[in-house]
């Protein structure tokens, strides 16, 4: 049967093409990326932010002003041609702090999600496959953590671990473990009952082989969609932790911390100190959110219209 739509889609180039290749491989080539605009926009936003942050941290004086050195820039002045986003109370250029201020957010979000994905999925596979008392204890523990407000738990944990990048990774990573546990466990329980698993068992495959070769790959799709939404949420959590003062120590540039700093000058009308870092946080979180939307549409095409 001839292809009903002869128009060939434009192929993506460069880094975007590589990312698409990963998505396609990870989902075992079952998806077409034609017309996935939401996904593409999300990818472009996130890639742009990563490039910007890496570049700005490699070359601190990218736009002529160092983000954390005190210069002869005017003190607390609104946006102008010389300082696009104004200056802060320590005579630093806000724009150059914006460029490099996403470092902690990106590092913590990616590492924390990787951590919770690994631990959570492993526990989920084990729990779902083993069943019995182990499953019951793990599920109960995970449900307990899950039902507690993740933001509060992250704050309590980071307060215990101390402030900085590593403690934030542990705290945020711990908070998201139940999310992956629940997703993988539910998938495993579903897959476990299918007849092909029964057939493989009848052939004499070991439990380890069944989990690794046949059950785990089936959970990848769900985990991918969840992890993008998770990254979006992690960006907000990290920003909140930094805002409360648990993030990078000053004078390192950081969006969340810069907002807290700007709060002090809010009464005097210095709106630029908080407005611009906030817009960056929203844009990055939105980028991850769009990727999540896109992947969910791919994994479950029926969802596209309903968008739950």
């Amino acid at each position: 049967m001839p292809d009903p739509s002869p128009r060939r889609p434009v192929q993506p180039h460069g880094l975007v093409a590589v990312l698409f290749w990963i998505v396609r491989k990870a989902s075992r080539g079952r998806i077409a990326l034609r017309g996935q605009h939401v996904l593409k926009v999300g990818f472009v936003v996130v890639v742009a932010f990563v490039l910007m942050t890496v570049l700005a941290n490699r070359l601190p004086a990218l736009n002529g002003y160092h983000p954390s050195l005190y210069r002869d820039a005017p003190r607390l002045e609104g946006p102008s041609a010389a300082h696009w986003m104004g200056t802060d109370q320590l005579q630093r250029d806000v724009f150059s702090r914006i460029l490099s201020g996403g470092k902690a957010s990106l590092i913590v979000a990616f590492s924390a999600v990787a951590l919770s994905m690994t631990v959570g999925s492993l526990l989920g596979w084990i729990s779902g496959f083993a069943g019995g008392w182990l499953d019951r204890v793990l599920s109960l523990t995970m449900d307990a953590i899950y039902s507690f407000p993740s933001m509060i738990l992250a704050i309590v944990l980071v307060a215990m671990f101390g402030s900085g990048i590593a403690p934030m990774i542990w705290a945020v990573g711990f908070v998201y473990i139940p999310t992956y546990f629940r997703v993988t466990r539910a998938e495993v329980l579903q897959v476990r009952e299918t007849s092909y698993i029964e057939a493989i068992r009848a052939v004499g495959a070991s439990n380890t082989r069944i989990v690794l070769r046949h059950v785990a790959p089936n959970t990848v799709n769900a985990i991918m969609a969840v992890s993008s939404f998770n990254l979006a949420d992690a960006i907000l959590t990290v920003a909140a932790l930094s805002f409360l003062g648990f993030g990078l120590p000053p004078p390192a540039p950081d969006w969340g911390f810069d907002i807290q700093n700007g709060q002090k000058y809010l009464q005097s009308g210095a709106w630029w100190l908080i407005t611009f870092p906030g817009i960056m946080i929203i844009a990055l979180s939105l980028g991850f959110g769009l990727i999540g939307e896109g992947i969910s549409d791919l994994v479950n095409p029926k969802r596209k219209r309903k968008r739950v």
């Binding site: 109960l140 993740s150 704050i155 309590v156 409360l244 908080i274 906030g278 929203i282």
Partner: protein
């Protein structure tokens, strides 16, 4: 016993391990973390070893870990959450003192979310795939990506600092903050009970910005669920029947579709209480709101162990109770649900 009664008892029993697990995790982590509580209690000053030992003895920190744990558990069971060493008052008493402030803010936030989320979701569903629908969906996704504390600060800048329409922070302004006599701690209710119109107006004015901040955070999820649920119901055969009978679209949507669409919407409402409490931490911090969440943050800064533990257990219990109420309510609006 009836189905619902047995279900409630089951759920209450299931709450116990949940609270127990959280309590244990927090207890252990607090004891493992670096930093000496006695030192922070004494303000990190240069104090002699004897004084430190005396304080450790007084607060039981010289006991083995399992003894401390057992003592703490025994206390919690009796309703004794320990004494805060920042303020010297029983933790539970402090929590109850701040609880009404958080509830008042939370209820107003939920109302904002309900109104915004529900109406926008309804608009989007009835105009599916048209410009209004796209606009609403962008708004919903953006509200997910919005840092709460930032939204709060922006509202402060615009409506309190630049325009001067509303107060920047706290629950009551000016002299009234000292002269206002509480009864229940729910200020709005108190003002009504005291028949104090001026105070009520001021209280409401103080509530507007924090409630909107907290409410917007929940609007996205609420709106998306409303939209999805309505779309699903509007696709059903009985809606087509209603339309072909010649009923007006307004009647079809509001009287026939809405009731069935409500079920998932109410469910999500209950689940949002956890998100709400998380959002309350940031909202209360930004608006200097004297609630439980800001109490927790200040206790963390002071490493006030008993206050941190107490707050966590209290919040966990509160959320379990809310979830239980939502579940029971759920069985009431949907007669098909049986336990």
């Amino acid at each position: 016993m009836g189905g619902v009664g047995r279900y409630i008892i089951q759920r209450v029993l299931l709450t116990i391990p949940m609270v127990f697990i959280l309590l244990t995790v927090v207890f252990l982590l607090l004891r493992v973390m670096p930093g000496n509580p006695v030192m922070s209690m004494l303000g990190g000053r240069n104090v002699s070893a004897e004084v430190i030992a005396e304080y450790e003895h007084r607060y039981g920190f010289d006991q083995p870990l399992y003894v401390q744990y057992a003592q703490y558990l025994a206390g919690v069971v009796r309703g004794d959450f320990g004494t805060s060493y920042r303020t010297g008052k029983p933790v539970l008493q402090e929590l109850f003192l701040r609880f009404p402030a958080t509830i008042e803010l939370g209820v107003c936030g939920i109302l904002v979310a309900a109104v915004f989320g529900f109406t926008t979701g309804l608009i989007a569903a009835t105009r599916a795939d048209r410009p209004a629908d796209h606009a609403v969906r962008v708004f919903h996704i953006a509200s997910f990506a919005m840092p709460l504390f930032w939204l709060g600060l922006m509202l402060q800048v615009i409506f309190a600092v630049k325009l001067g329409w509303l107060p920047v922070a706290s629950r009551l302004g000016g002299r009234m903050a000292f002269t206002f006599k509480q009864i229940t701690g729910f200020y709005m209710l108190d003002a009504v009970l005291r028949w104090d119109g001026k105070a009520l107006a001021d209280i409401v004015r103080h509530l507007v910005l924090p409630s909107i901040t907290l409410g917007i955070a929940l609007t996205g999820l609420q709106g998306r669920i409303t939209r999805a649920s309505m779309l699903e119901v509007l696709d059903m055969d009985y809606i087509t029947t209603a339309r072909s009978k010649g009923l007006r679209e307004r009647v079809v949507v509001l009287r026939h579709a809405l009731r069935n669409a409500l079920i998932p919407i109410v469910t999500v409402f209950g689940l949002q209480f956890a998100v709400l409490m998380g959002g309350a931490v940031l909202t209360e911090t930004v608006f200097s709101w004297p609630g439980i969440a800001s109490y927790l943050v200040r206790s963390i800064e002071a490493r006030d162990y008993y206050a941190i533990q107490g707050s966590v257990v209290f919040i966990a219990l509160f959320i379990s109770v809310i979830n239980l109420i939502v579940d029971v309510f759920y069985s009431m609006i949907d007669p098909r649900v049986r336990y």
